[in-house]
Structures are given as structure tokens and as C-alpha cells.
Symmetry: C2
Subunit: 224 residues, 2 copies
């Protein structure tokens, strides 16, 4: 994932003077699906890189209570403006999520009709169970931070994002079920993938026809 820079810079900024282990813990505690997980090594690497780039600086290297020495960092003025730039870049730029299911689906035809419908239905079930879990989470927490009720607090922006996740999972699950039904009924035939040879012919035909479907280009250009 390429958001490592933003994540680590943002966490150093937010957590004030921190050492790598705290950043790691904080990220682990987020463990938000959708926010790619970052290995321990990547965090320390990012901290060093950000330091040589002048975006953060070493505050001190010291050991407390005979524990292993730790280096604490804080954000610099340059880092602050780079952070502002990065957040805006990532938020304004509408990038497509990188979906492993999408990639694998390209080869879904190797599963037979039965395995495919089974797979899609199980996927839908799992999605529904996750939706349920998030719903429970949202119901058992609040967006207000009341003293004495700290464990019930979930920041409003996190709650909003969780709502988005469930909305997305609902349509995804529905798509899985609809698609399973379509495959079962024979309406959708995944086996109808052109063989490489057919595909080559098709490609050749398109090329020599000197005619590309304009909708394809139109569509691809919206992602530039």
C-alpha cells in the first residue's frame, strides 16, 4: 500500500512525540478493514525516511525503566505542510479501491457452476455477518465522549465511515446473491470466456477494423 507515508506522518503528527512502537500499536488498534495493514518493519522504515526527508525529527533516544532504548519523533513545520498536501491529495483524488475479489473474479470461470454459486452465497453470508457485527458496534457506542463512559465512545468520523462500509457491504452481498441466482438459472454463463485464440482473433478483428468501441475509451478516460 502507498498510504504508508500519510498514515505514519499523520500518526506522528496526531500523537505528538512518539516512538515507533506506539505508532504500531495505534495502527493495530485501528485494525480497520479498508485501511491496509502495515508491517512493523514498514513503520520503522517510514520513520527513518520521513526523518531524512525532514518531515519529522528525532526528539530523543532514551530508555525508560531499563526497557529497550526508543527513539521518539515529532512532526516538523515542513512535515506539517506536506501532511496537509497529502491528506488533500488522497481525499480529493477519487481512486478506486484495490479489490482482491475483483482480481480473482477474472478467473472465476475455472470454478464450475456449483462451486461458483456456493462461493458467492457463502461470501454473501460472511458479508451479512460482518454487517451485523458493525451494526451492533454502532448501536453499543456513541459519538459523544462522556466521562466515565469512555469505552462507549467511538469518534463520529469513524462511525460515519463504518456506516459507509456497511452500506457498501450490503450492495456487495446483494450482488453476490443476484449473481449466484443468475448463474444457477443459466442466465449468466461464466464459461463463455473467449479462448485465447478467439480472443486473439477478436483483438485482431478490432484492430484491423480500425474501430474501437468509443464507450470503452470514454469509460477508461474517466479514471485518468
Amino acid at each position: 500500500m502507498w498510504s504508508t507515508r500519510l498514515l505514519v506522518l499523520g500518526l506522528v503528527r496526531w500523537l505528538g512525540p512518539v516512538h515507533g512502537y506506539l505508532v504500531r500499536r495505534e495502527l493495530d488498534s485501528w485494525r480497520m478493514p479498508g485501511v491496509g495493514e502495515i508491517g512493523a518493519g514498514s513503520i520503522y522504515h517510514a520513520l527513518k525516511k520521513l526523518t531524512t526527508d525532514g518531515l519529522i525529527e528525532v526528539v530523543a533516544t532514551e530508555s525508560v525503566d531499563d526497557r529497550p532504548a526508543r527513539t521518539t519523533y515529532r512532526i516538523t513545520v515542513t512535515g506539517e505542510s506536506e501532511f496537509q498536501r497529502l491528506v488533500r491529495e488522497k481525499l480529493w483524488n477519487v481512486a478506486q479501491a484495490d479489490d482482491p475479489f475483483h482480481t480473482a473474479w477474472s478467473f472465476a470461470n475455472v470454478l464450475g457452476k456449483n462451486e461458483n454459486t456456493a462461493m458467492l452465497r457463502r461470501r454473501a453470508e460472511i458479508l451479512y455477518s460482518r454487517i451485523e457485527a458493525v451494526t451492533v458496534l454502532l448501536a453499543s457506542t456513541t459519538g459523544e465522549c462522556a466521562p466515565g463512559r469512555e469505552e462507549e465512545f467511538l469518534p463520529p468520523h469513524v462511525r460515519a465511515m463504518l456506516k459507509r462500509q456497511t452500506d457498501l457491504m450490503v450492495v456487495d452481498a446483494e450482488w453476490c446473491e443476484t449473481t449466484a441466482a443468475r448463474i444457477e438459472s443459466g442466465e449468466l454463463d461464466l464459461g463463455a470466456v473467449p479462448s485465447p485464440v478467439e480472443n486473439e482473433n477478436r483483438r485482431e478483428a478490432i484492430r484491423t477494423d480500425d474501430f474501437q468501441n468509443p464507450a470503452v475509451e470514454q469509460w477508461q478516460s474517466t479514471f485518468k
Copy 2:
């Protein structure tokens, strides 16, 4: 992205004896948002790795028409079963898509109310324009491959996946608009992020209270 192996192996399998450049071209022609893009170098690296792993084998290294020499590969028997395993692994395992917007949203509070609503509304607009483009694409193509109409053909499984994409984009866009409205009305206050100190206190409170909200654990466990 960690689907490189599957993608390259699958393409070598599908395209029969191929050289790296063809794989590259095929992937470029897909240029499906959601299927992570793979750099040229990664393809050649994957081909070499797959070869040393015995999943594919070199057919020949030759140069045609005085063009640069090229090495062609084809899948092996071991490769075929590994491919079958990989496809199933990726399809059955319900992994969360890695969403850059989600990551950046964690820091959305640095944008003010105005910039935030503007950002969300522009995002919605862009999503709608993409939905429109895909809709046009689906309408101007068919799932049947008729000779003489090759440029109108779009494989059924691709059409199905595009439908999923639009469904997802529709909810995403709606969420953006709803959220923009909630921010504007003051109902949703992104500035209400606990300061690091508050957060530390909260964390401390939770730890010493020896009480974790069970819903959090419940929720996280569904992603294991």
C-alpha cells in the same frame, strides 16, 4: 498488491505460450479499476519467480523480424494446480478491499467544514460520471460474441463485475452526499476528534477499567 502472482500465472495459463510484453499489454488493456495496476518490472519479475518455482516454464527465447529477443512461457502441470488453488483462495477468502479514501478519511478533520463538504460533493459527482460511463459501456455492448460485431462484445463475467462496480459506486456517492449534508447541518462534527492527550486518557481509562466494549472485539474477530 499481492495478487500479482495470480494475475501473471492466470494470464500465462490463459494466453498459452506468451512473452512478458503480451502479458503487460493484456493487463494494460484490462485497466480495470479495482484490479491493481502492475508495473512492467513486476511482470518480468513474476515470470522469473514463477519459473524458478516451477509453475511456468520457458518455451523458447527467440527474436522475430530482428525485433528484440523475447522469451515465451507456458504453464506447467504444477502451475495449473497452484493456479486452481490460488483462484479458490482469493475467491473464497472474503478480504476487504484496500481503500485509499478510507485511509485518508481518518485525517479528514484537518479539512474545514467547507472544504470537507466541497470535497465530498465533488467526489459524488465524479462517481456519478463514472457510473454514467459504465452504464453507457454496458448499453453499447453485448455479452454475446457475434461475428462481425466483435467490438460490441464484452464477456458476461466482465459485465457482471461492472454492474457490481456501479452498484458500489452508487452507494458510495449517496454516502458522500448524505455525509456532506450532515457536516453542513452541524449534525456531524469531524472536529470532534479526541486530542492525543484525551485519547491517551481514554485509552488508559479503558485499560484500567479492565473493560473493553465486547462489540469491538466481536466486530474485529469477524475479519480474522
